[in-house]
């Protein structure tokens, strides 16, 4: 079911320029701060922009960030995890120590620092979130690699002379893939949340880029009387994050009993 929501979101995001009723940038000062109405299904923000359109475009931003972050994190995580898991010995321990040390740090703070160092922008945001997420991924990959490493088909592959790279790619990785998919989905949830949070703090998307986090911070002065300005983008973040979480959990549940029944 989470997959359904994600799918809808993806369609919205990609199709936004075509479907959105209004341009997310066009201000309409006459209609500023209007409540939801038939013309503007989710109301208008403080300078009259249509909230529904901004939300849809916000989906683009969020999914753009999310997919890039996941790509970076997964690539790095898989690489490091596989190398560590297969190599074993002190290479593995060294990598493990570095991973542990990165873990020692609150990721948001590190992301903040990276964003500050490289200047607040969406790109830095993605680098920051990606950089803080890959250690977790590499750990899981590493343990999955360990589990697969000792199974018979791997031993037999090596016995028949397959080189380590071939073993890694053709035999170990395909078994690790399901776990990675689960993690990717859950990571997307975290990434969207992180993008919203960092943009909210002013360290991510810059106005007038439509971003959900930015939308919430924009709406803050109007909370008392026009709460929808802040709550619409906030609500979208919520739904998106939940969708990814449900998706990830769902995939995990599908995988688990199957593994147990073997």
């Amino acid at each position: 079911m989470g997959g359904a929501v994600v799918l809808i979101l993806v369609i919205l995001a990609i199709g936004a320029p075509v479907i959105a009723p209004y341009s997310p940038y066009k201000a309409d000062f006459n209609g500023a701060k209007n409540a939801p109405s038939w013309h503007h299904l989710l109301g208008q923000d403080q300078i009259g922009r249509d909230l529904l359109s901004r939300a849809m475009y916000g989906a683009r931003t969020a999914l753009y960030v999310g997919s890039l972050v996941v790509t970076i994190a997964v690539t790095l995580g898989v690489l490091v995890g596989t190398v560590g898991g297969l190599a074993g010995g002190w290479t593995d321990r060294l990598i493990g120590a570095v991973v542990d040390m990165t873990f020692a740090f609150p990721s948001l703070v590190l992301a903040l620092a990276v964003t500050a160092a490289l200047g607040p922008s969406l790109t830095t945001l993605m680098i920051a979130i990606g950089a803080t997420s890959w250690p977790g991924l590499s750990r899981v990959v590493r343990s999955a690699v360990f589990k697969t490493k000792s199974r018979d088909f791997v031993t037999s592959a090596r016995a028949t002379g397959a080189g380590p790279v071939r073993v890694a790619v053709r035999h170990v990785l395909p078994n690790v893939v399901p776990e990675i998919i689960v993690l990717a989905s859950l990571l997307s949830a975290t990434a969207v949340l992180a993008e919203a949070s960092l943009s909210f703090l002013g360290l991510g998307a810059k106005p007038p880029t439509p971003s959900w986090g930015l939308g919430v911070s924009d709406g803050q002065p109007f909370l008392e009387h026009q709460p929808w300005i802040a709550l619409v983008p906030g609500g979208f973040v919520f739904i998106t994050v939940m969708a990814f979480n449900v998706l990830g959990d769902g995939i995990r549940d599908v995988l688990d009993p199957r593994l147990r029944n073997r």
Binding site: M101, A104, F105, V109, A113, G119, F238
Partner: protein
């Protein structure tokens, strides 16, 4: 046990170096000449030059780092740029209490709610209670902290006027008001942390409940309550405690947002402001403190492991 602790301690030291070095490098890598930033907008050339001298920015970066380390070891963390050249240690001291208090209350709330909730969900698996609490956990996990914060402010603070919406009063000044002000921020922070803990606890309790020794205990005639308390809980708590340790990091991070929204002058807000204004000494000082706190907390957690799992206590 002693060997176990010693190992953890040994890992802690390189961590401190690694992290502080990383942040040091990051701050120095920022685009633009740091001296220009630090000197301010009206600075003249000579102002900038003197700032450069003052902060030793003309020296090579490794030298700067070593200098900072040496000073830090003596308790001098430099002077904050933003706050009128106040010593960073003073600024930190003012702020750390607020964040520590927030963190403590948050932990208290999240642990005290997640344990009964998690156990309940596992014990009454697949019933209404289980589904309800798992769904609740999912919702709490997905709701961004700033949205929750605003919702709480809006509903509780402004609409029903039950609690003051924002602000901070030091504890020693007025404990009652301080606590009242802390409730909403703590709830906000606790909700995401709660979610994670409840889920993990549920999973681990389920695993433990399937174990043979639980069946034996029940067969012996022990009431479920006794079984839960004496056998299940201690074992299930081990991964739980791990999660608590990991969550300390995210609580500290989440504190940034909560402190900003609720206007609490704590370390989180200090970090944010410091980063936004390129206040290196403050940033470095904050990072050092955060790492230290994190390490202390994790050592405590390791000690808790030893208490919970006699195998660790008796082996190392």
């Amino acid at each position: 046990m002693r060997q176990y602790l010693a190992q953890r301690f040994l890992l802690a030291i390189p961590t401190i170096f690694f992290v502080t070095m990383l942040v040091f490098l990051l701050t120095r890598v920022m685009p633009g000449d740091p001296a220009v930033f630090l000197a301010g907008t009206d600075a003249t050339r000579s102002d900038i030059a003197s700032v450069r001298k003052e902060f030793h920015l003309d020296e090579p970066v490794p030298v700067q780092y070593l200098r900072w380390l040496k000073d830090a070891a003596h308790g001098n963390l430099g002077r904050s740029v933003r706050n009128a050249r106040l010593p960073v240690t003073t600024v930190l001291k003012d702020r750390i209490l607020a964040t520590l208090e927030l963190g403590f209350i948050t932990l208290l709330i999240s642990i005290s709610i997640s344990i009964p909730l998690g156990v309940l969900a596992a014990y009454k698996r697949d019933t209404f209670w289980d589904h309800a609490s798992t769904t609740l956990a999912l919702l709490a996990l997905s709701l961004p902290s700033f949205v929750l914060a605003y919702l709480l402010i809006f509903i509780v603070g402004l609409h029903f006027k039950l609690l003051p919406p924002a602000g901070y009063v030091p504890f020693l000044q007025s404990p009652g008001t301080n606590l009242k002000l802390m409730i909403l921020p703590a709830i906000t922070l606790a909700s995401a942390a709660l979610a994670g803990k409840t889920r993990i606890l549920r999973t681990t309790v389920l695993e433990v409940l399937n174990q043979d020794y639980v069946t034996v205990a029940r067969a012996k005639g022990l009431s479920m309550r006794t079984v839960l308390q004496s056998h299940v809980l201690k074992n299930a708590l081990i991964p739980f405690v791990t999660v608590v340790g990991v969550q300390i990091g995210s609580i500290l991070g989440g504190a940034v947002i909560v402190e900003t929204v609720f206007g609490i002058p704590g370390m989180g807000k200090l970090t944010l402001d410091g980063i936004l204004s390129r206040d290196f000494p403050t940033i470095q000082g904050v990072v050092l403190v955060i790492v230290l706190v994190y390490l202390i907390v994790n050592t405590l957690i390791d000690l808790t492991y030893a208490y919970l799992d006699p195998r660790i206590r008796l082996s190392g």
